[in-house]
């Protein structure tokens, strides 16, 4: 039998011996063509794949007398590259290997291995070397393990069920303060020090919340140096009482950094961090207690970073 659609052909064979045996002839679908031929859904508006092959194979045998049989299938997605909506994906690999036994018309899972690996996924911030294992349970996905690298450090979580209410711990390790400072776009700003965070991600009826995620710097702390610049000048000239703060930030060594992060489904994020340290140019003896609070919509930040990437791409194409 043959199934032809979206400019691809899937072939298989079936035979009647003692029971029905259906076999899918191993082959592959070339995703970019498939997508080009597929009807334009709003959700896939910006999706444009440049590479991606979906290899498939599978077979099923069913004995009517004994009402038993077995089925197995494999889906392997290779080199998925391009844009999925406005998320830039670089070399995604998906592997799904399933084996089932059928007894008295009951389907029993013998083997189930689902893995997703992505070299780089840019959600506004590039996340690289993503590895994840997950299971399918009656249409629900359970991510047994997820880890990746971002901002100079790593992120990991386990036993996460995206469609079920409940809490999952997300761990960030060794995030570089310097990488976060880059987003401040203050020319010449430098920072050292590594941050670890343990974030309780709560899936509630109205979406994901974070209540008091813990952030802390690893010993021995680090240093922040923000030299005077036009950018700093424009901030201090438009905000009262900020002049002295940037005097301190010209050279602040911190031995402790602790903070809390809160997040709402709308994306509104509230970070409160306090640093304890020294600013030699301010006082040789008195310690500095620096309290920093940051409010921003994380979803909009990521979207505007993706938008900036998109503009960069369209500018590059224009002036290639």
């Amino acid at each position: 039998w043959q199934l032809a659609s979206l400019r691809q052909v899937i072939e298989g064979s079936y035979a009647w011996q003692q029971g029905l045996s259906v076999k899918l002839i191993p082959g592959y679908l070339y995703l970019p063509d498939m997508l080009a031929a597929a009807p334009k859904y709003k959700a896939l508006a910006k999706t444009a794949l440049t590479q991606g092959k979906l290899h498939y194979q599978g077979k099923l045998f069913y004995d009517f007398q004994r009402q038993s049989g077995q089925a197995s299938g494999q889906l392997q997605l290779r080199e998925l590259t391009g844009l999925i909506n406005d998320f830039a994906i670089q070399n995604g690999q998906l592997s799904m290997v399933h084996e089932y036994k059928i007894e008295q018309n009951q389907l029993k899972t013998l083997k189930e291995k689902n893995q997703l690996a992505i070299d780089e996924l840019n959600i506004g911030v590039p996340v690289s070397v993503i590895k994840s294992d997950w299971l399918l349970r009656q249409g629900d996905i359970k991510v047994s393990q997820f880890n990746g690298f971002l901002l100079g450090g790593s992120v990991s979580l386990s036993d996460f069920e995206p469609f079920k209410l409940g809490m999952t711990k997300v761990h960030f390790a060794g995030i570089q303060l310097a990488a976060l400072m880059d987003y401040g776009q203050l020319p010449g700003a430098q920072a050292t020090g590594l941050l670890d965070a343990s974030i309780p991600l709560l899936n509630e009826t109205d979406g994901f919340h974070i209540y008091d995620g813990q952030i802390s710097a690893r010993a021995p702390g680090g240093k922040i140096t923000i030299p005077p610049s036009d950018a700093v000048q424009s901030i201090t000239s438009t905000n009262k009482g900020v002049e002295f703060v940037f005097k301190v930030l010209e050279n602040l060594s911190y031995s402790q950094l602790n903070g809390k992060l809160n997040y709402k489904p709308s994306g509104e994020t509230d970070i409160k961090v306090s640093l304890v340290g020294r600013s030699p140019q301010i006082s040789a003896t008195r310690p500095i207690e620096f309290n920093y609070s940051h409010q921003e919509n994380l979803l909009q930040l990521l979207r505007s970073l993706r938008f900036a990437n998109e503009l960069e791409r369209s500018l590059e194409e224009k002036y290639k």
Partner: protein
């Protein structure tokens, strides 16, 4: 002389606060402003 025990008062910390709030409506704002430029009475479209 009797040894004088001097408890050095720890120096009082200098407390500094910085509150930052960032608004991300740029694309929406730019879009509105461009809409105005290309509106009928602007003569620029």
């Amino acid at each position: 002389c009797t040894p004088r025990v001097e408890v050095a008062m720890p120096d009082k910390p200098i407390t500094v606060n910085l509150n930052v709030k960032i608004d991300h409506e740029i694309r929406v704002k730019v879009d509105k402003e461009l809409e105005q430029i290309f509106s009928d009475d602007s003569g620029l479209f």
